[in-house]
Symmetry: C2
């Protein structure tokens, strides 16, 4: 007897996003990127469309419209009351521990096996990526302060944005320290 506990998170991401707004599969991807891209590896269409079909079969979402704009068809999905129930059930469970896979640290761990210049290059690239991310986060925060419509979802989104800012800044600080160490070692 299997007591499978592994959860399909794509399912809950889709339910969560549809709980705000009815969307197409294509929309789901773009919005997921903006809303959770900062702390969740992107959903691919290869996950979205099959999951959408499963959810529809289970009655958790429904196809509310097939808009034909000329030849192009957009299939708009909405969450059902059962879907909202399922989403709530998941939300009140304690969160799983985070899944991390930082390739750069893996390469750093075994870095002594090759020249130190490769480690330096990796950390520099990591730092640049994080600096770009900080600019992006700060820009999002500024634009949010302008269009400040005080709804609750907005407040929760801000919390996740702040997470990105805190952690990204810490990563830049670490990168600076690591680069110092690496340069000192290479002399």
């Amino acid at each position: 007897m299997d007591t499978l506990v592994r959860e399909n998170k794509a399912k809950f991401i889709i339910l969560g996003l549809l709980s705000h707004d009815s969307l197409t599969g294509y929309d789901l991807r773009q919005i997921a990127e903006r809303m959770i891209g900062n702390f969740w590896t992107d959903l691919s269409y290869g996950q979205i469309y099959p999951t959408l079909r499963t959810l529809e079969k289970q009655g958790l979402v429904s196809k509310t419209a097939e808009v034909e704009e000329g030849e192009r068809i957009r299939k708009i999905y909405s969450i059902t009351p059962e879907g909202v129930g399922e989403l709530r059930k998941w939300l009140i469970e304690p969160a799983d521990t985070e899944i991390l896979k930082l390739d750069i640290l893996l390469k750093l761990t075994f870095g002594a096996k090759v020249g130190i210049e490769y480690s330096i290059k990796n950390v520099e690239e990591f730092k640049q990526r994080n600096e770009a991310a900080i600019e992006r986060y700060d820009a999002i925060e500024r634009s949010l302060h302008n269009t400040l419509h005080e709804n609750e979802d907005h407040a929760f989104f801000l919390l996740t944005l702040h997470y990105g800012q805190y952690v990204t800044r810490a990563q830049i600080q670490w990168a600076n320290k690591a680069l110092e160490t690496l340069h000192a070692t290479s002399k």
Copy 2:
């Protein structure tokens, strides 16, 4: 024609660890946990043993001993020169971007759909986990300073430990701020 670029990271973790020391499958798991557990979701035996067999078939590792201690058999694997070459080849490639899946932020994103007390509980639990992690990291750092044998691997390991310290502290700071915001909202 497929140009598959997805890399089996378990392969390189095993090669990396074996480049220090010959180990059994069981050892690999324990050591992986200590060396990279801080930034890489644990390797399971379900990955280790099959990967070890594949690597052996490819000549990248070899079974150097089958120690029989009474009835118990330990199979000790070593890296081959070809394995070292493969490890080096991977090390000098630029690192992939990190894979993140932070369930807690996902639940926070959609937190408005349930009572705020669930969000608070999640963040508190996250904070506690991070506080425990900091203590663990600091203890490891102290013990490293005592047994300071100045080899290069040790220095690289310290870099990844520092990463954990920087990011974990940032996560605690974020959690404190988030808890403030959440408590203010719930009043």
